[in-house]
Amino acid sequence: MNALVILIIAAVGVYLGYGLYAKKIDKDIIQPSPDKATPATMYMDGVDFTPASKNVLFGYQFKSIAALGPIGGPIVAAQYGWLPGLLWIIFGTFFIGWVQDYASIIVPMRSEGDTFGALSYKLISPRARGILLVFIYLYLLLIMGAFGQVIGINFLSNPGVPVGVLAVILMGLLAGQMTYKMKQDILLTTAITVVVAFIGIWVGTLSGVTGFFEGFNASLGANTKYFWALIFAVICYLGAVLPIWRWAQPTNYVSFWIIALGMAGGVIGMIIWTFQGGATFGDFPAFTGWSVAGLGPLWPILFVTIACGAVSGWHSLVSSSGTARQIEKEVDALPIGGGAMWMEMILAVIALLTATAATGGWDAYLEAYAGGKFGVFAVGLANFLSHIGIPTAFGIPYGMVFLTIMGLTICYLVVRFMRVASAELLGDAIPALKNMHVGAIVALVLSLIVIWTGVWQTIWVLFGGANQMMASLALLIITVWLMSQGKKYGWTFWPFVFMYITTIAALVYTAFWKALPAVLAGTKVTGNIIAVVVAVILILCALVLGYDGVLAINRYRKGEVAPTAE
């Protein structure tokens, strides 16, 4: 097996899934009309509701949904062998992933731009909105825990990484200054900041610099992980409280180029390597067994380990609150929502290839994985880049900087959102939470506790579980909406049932078969207690929402609520 064959299989999946199945659903069930007014045109307010072109929104949607998730999941799931992950990525996207993303645009677009919070209130039950928000807060906390451990503990503590990350952030600040204060041309700004950021990444790999950080980390000893996680928290704090134009947004802009160029170089390198007869899987097994130590049984754990790349609840939030309000024509929803999801599937397949074809074998994969989870991606990317002439000594730290800034761009947004959420949910009871600094610090302290005390694989599975549960709840809302409109709903109802049962099973397994026994055995007690508590709250929220959802479905099935003609 080699990389090119896998890419061809993925391309066939795209053709069948997007070209046939998705287009049929779009044409026969949703029946979009190019002449129908969308919320972007009806309620144009120049801010949230603003029509944008199909191609622009396709890029925006893809960038918003593709972060560390589609990269991390396949790498972790490769422990089951390459075949289960590949099948779930392709079939998950085929039957569930694009369905959720596409319908998460369609439903708000046909409901005057309502968010999922408002839709759950109207379609399911009044309490559904409040529960959904608690659910989202915990989900965001788990994102911080999962990404924070990788960035703060694994990557920033690598001697070749800190200077590169600092360079990218400084160039982001310069980009903001040049764009907004000095009113410089965007091309000039981009050229200067991106080139200097790359030089910074290279400087970070020089032996003098890495030697300094090696010595520094050695002097910290066991406190290394605390120190670098704290640095991660400080960066997130600045990203969350400073004006967006000053920090988060220009840093994200410079990061985009670092990431995009790395991905493009990696794909070109992979293709060249394949034609040279390389990029083969070596002794990498197709299937290692029905259960893997540390992760758990294939069902349900695989289906929450690979979230983004197959199906992800995050996408439903982005699609409903952002993209749906910018669509100019109804017919654009499929290429944007469905198209971006299929493209993310390709990204997940490439991530799987960095773990399999790029490492070249099972032992090399395990060695890279032991060196720091997503480090596999950095090693794999470096191997691909080496075939376009970029030395591995630069490629590996570059891959780690790439992943670090990719994660940071999400974490800024997550902390910002967590502080808004805590102010909304608890601001009346605890007025101090309305202060943005207090809200951000509370969010970061909670995150640091999870980062320092948690078991990464448990956090990752919980994060995947919360993410997939969000997806199943989005599918539930979509199903109820389809029923309310008198449309066929099997294509969203069965994915909802599968995701709902699988995710609850994964959360129950993680809480009671992994975290609780670890608590009883005295292993990482604080982290595992947090995992059990978070999992139990998520399960309870999901059960209540599921119960209300079934009642709502029955109301429509029994005809107690007449379908609304569009």
Partner: protein, 92 residues
């Protein structure tokens, strides 16, 4: 495919690629700028609200100078102010 069709195809492809790249790299910037402008507009309208209602709060000379700039924004401002919001709005 004729030469003209080829040229048109390449032009369209280039245009789409440019828009896609802008969507990934720069569309967020535009949205943030629009949101900032929207917040400024709230303040701007607040300043002139008195005169819109017929109650002079600022010295009328200044607010009357500002009013022509405010009036075209009122319909979109009203939509923004009256729209129901929840936390998931903060994500986009």
């Amino acid at each position: 495919m004729t030469e003209e069709e080829k040229a048109n195809f390449l032009k369209r492809f280039g245009h789409s690629a440019k828009e896609f790249l802008y969507g990934m790299a720069g569309h967020d910037m535009t949205r943030f700028a629009l949101k900032t402008r929207g917040s400024m507009e709230h303040l701007f309208i607040l300043i002139t609200m008195g005169d819109l209602l017929g109650i002079p709060i600022l010295p009328p000379y200044y607010s009357l100078r500002l009013l022509p700039y405010v009036v075209p924004q009122i319909s979109t401002w009203k939509r923004r102010m009256l729209r129901e919001r929840d936390l998931t709005d903060a994500l986009a």
